[in-house]
């Protein structure tokens, strides 16, 4: 019995550890939020305990039976007046203090530091398009669902939406910020330690809202620069015959209408950029790990995995699936 209770109690706490948790803060914005959460919890818990204590005390100290309710004792009256005035005063102070803390937290959250890196993140049904901006236009590139950032640097994120309202949320790094059609919002993220943080769309946006995830990978500056230089480069033409065949299949099928692979003729801009899809950890917006099998499964039956998704089922011969998946997996 005891074990069951312990297990049930540990369930809500398990949500506070690590992967995608607001309370496991790894950046300044998330830390502000976590601090506020703990201050509010502590203060409100204290208030609750004190109130309950006073209530219990009142229940135990019962009035003497048969006493005249209209008879008052001036000494008791005076004492009660002082207690109640103090309680009212303390309520005011508590509410004002919490309001002040909340205001201070908001100011910290919305103040932007100058950073070297600016990203344009566009929410789409149901994936994230990520463009790394750069004053040198040939260093601008687009990727999807995976953000790499250098550790310890503030990164400005401009948020837009292409269809409906989405909300950008990396619980370990920052609070939620909506991506709204026709306007641009901004949010800043910063990671203090290297790590992989999961993000999630936090505004219901249609059938596959729950499968609209992303990863933020914070890494040392050198690793980040290496990753960025690789992403800027075009896809290398495959060397082995199987992948060459896969490329031919990709370019002759409807894939090219929506997807882009820089360095080939595929130039569609309405679905995730696949130039380096093999280097990303997940496909389908954080839904499946990038393996050859998962890529094949996704191509053959996207609606079995994410019902309602925009990716159509296309006609493929059985012997075309393997080379195609192999080619895409090889786009590192």
């Amino acid at each position: 019995m005891n074990r069951v209770t312990l297990f049930l109690l540990s369930l809500p706490l398990a949500g506070c550890q690590g992967w995608q948790s607001t309370l496991d803060a790894h950046g300044p914005a998330a830390r502000t939020l976590a601090d506020m959460f703990w201050i509010f919890t502590a203060v409100l818990a204290t208030v609750w305990v004190l109130t309950m204590g006073a209530l219990l005390l009142a229940l135990r100290k019962r009035r003497v039976a048969g006493a005249d309710p209209l008879a008052t004792n001036p000494a008791t009256e005076r004492r009660m007046t002082i207690v109640i005035s103090t309680a009212i005063g303390l309520t005011f102070v508590t509410v004002l203090a919490l309001t002040g803390i909340s205001y201070g937290g908001q100011r910290a959250l919305y103040s932007h530091k100058d950073g070297a890196l600016t990203l344009l993140v566009t929410g789409r049904q149901w994936w994230w398009q990520i463009t790394y901006e750069d004053p040198q236009t040939n260093r601008i590139f687009t990727t999807a669902n995976e953000i790499h950032i250098p550790v310890g640097e503030p990164v400005l994120i401009k948020l837009e939406s292409a269809d409906v309202i989405h909300s950008f949320w990396i619980p370990n790094l920052t609070g939620k910020m909506d991506a709204i059609t026709g306007r641009q919002n901004q949010v800043q993220i910063q990671a203090d330690r290297p790590g992989v943080y999961r993000g999630q769309c936090a505004e219901f946006c249609g059938l596959q809202h729950a499968h609209m995830g992303m990863l933020v990978i914070a890494e040392p500056k050198e690793d980040f620069e290496r990753w960025r230089n690789n992403q800027i480069s075009a896809a290398k033409p495959p060397a082995d015959p199987e992948r060459q065949r896969g490329m031919e299949i990709f370019l002759s099928k409807p894939c090219v209408m929506c997807h882009q692979i820089r360095g080939t003729d595929a130039g569609g801009k309405i679905a995730p950029d696949l130039t380096h899809v093999g280097s990303r950890r997940y496909i389908a917006a954080g839904t499946l790990e990038t393996t050859r099998g998962n890529i094949a499964a996704w191509i053959v039956d996207p609606h079995g995995i994410k019902p309602g998704v925009t990716m159509p089922t296309i006609q493929l011969e059985p012997d075309e699936v393997q080379p195609l998946a192999s080619y895409l997996e090889g786009l590192k």
């Binding site: 002759s252 099928k253 409807p254 090219v256 209408m257 929506c258 309405i270 039956d301 609606h303 079995g304 019902p307 309602g308 159509p312 089922t313 296309i314 006609q315």
Partner: protein, 186 residues
């Protein structure tokens, strides 16, 4: 009696769902349907040209979801690059009543599949077949050829100017000329 009433009301509500009924998977994966259309009434021999229409188009035309998908794909696949928003540009207009290659949905589907002389490219193998049907259904809706409750609304950005209540306050200018209609004897 009461049960019968409840049941009939439930049936009435359910019929409304067909308007935007949808399947997640095109099942089986859409192979090209066999459509035989005649582009002209002329044919060799005494009999008129033989046409064969699969009838699948009705399901697309009478379904709000498919027409709305078609509207999205129309822009995604750059149909508006030549046909603009239906008014035409380097391609012919689509919202008028002139149909060079026939205005039935099968004719439009074949036009998209096969391409047509003077610039319309063939999208066979580039657009999955069910999406071609969706685009054709949307093209039909431009010329008011689908049911009113199925047709999608016009985009906000297609309005020539913002609505009056969204514009800055206007200026009031006193004076000016009396309009001819006001000068007429009543």
């Amino acid at each position: 009696m009461r049960n019968l009433l409840t049941a009939s009301i439930a049936v009435l509500i359910l019929t409304a769902c067909e308007r935007e009924d949808r399947e997640y998977r095109a099942n089986p994966v859409t192979a090209e349907t066999e459509e035989k259309i005649a582009l002209s009434p002329l044919s060799g021999g005494p009999s008129p040209p033989v046409e064969r229409r699969s009838g699948i188009g009705q399901g697309y035309e009478e379904n709000a979801f498919h027409v709305a998908q078609g509207k999205k794909l129309y822009v995604w696949f750059n149909c508006n690059g030549c046909h603009a928003n239906g008014g035409g540009g380097s391609g012919p207009p689509l919202m008028d009543d002139r149909w060079t290659y026939g205005g039935q949905i099968e004719n439009i589907v074949q036009t998209i599949r096969e391409g047509r002389p003077n610039g319309m490219p063939s999208f066979r193998g580039k657009i999955p077949d069910d999406q071609i049907w969706q685009i054709a259904a949307y093209v039909r809706s431009m010329g008011r050829n689908v049911r009113k409750d199925v047709a999608p609304g016009r985009n906000d950005d297609m309005h020539p100017a913002p609505a009056e209540q969204r514009r800055p306050p206007g200026e009031v200018i006193d004076g000016g000329q009396i309009s001819p209609s006001a000068q007429m004897p009543q």
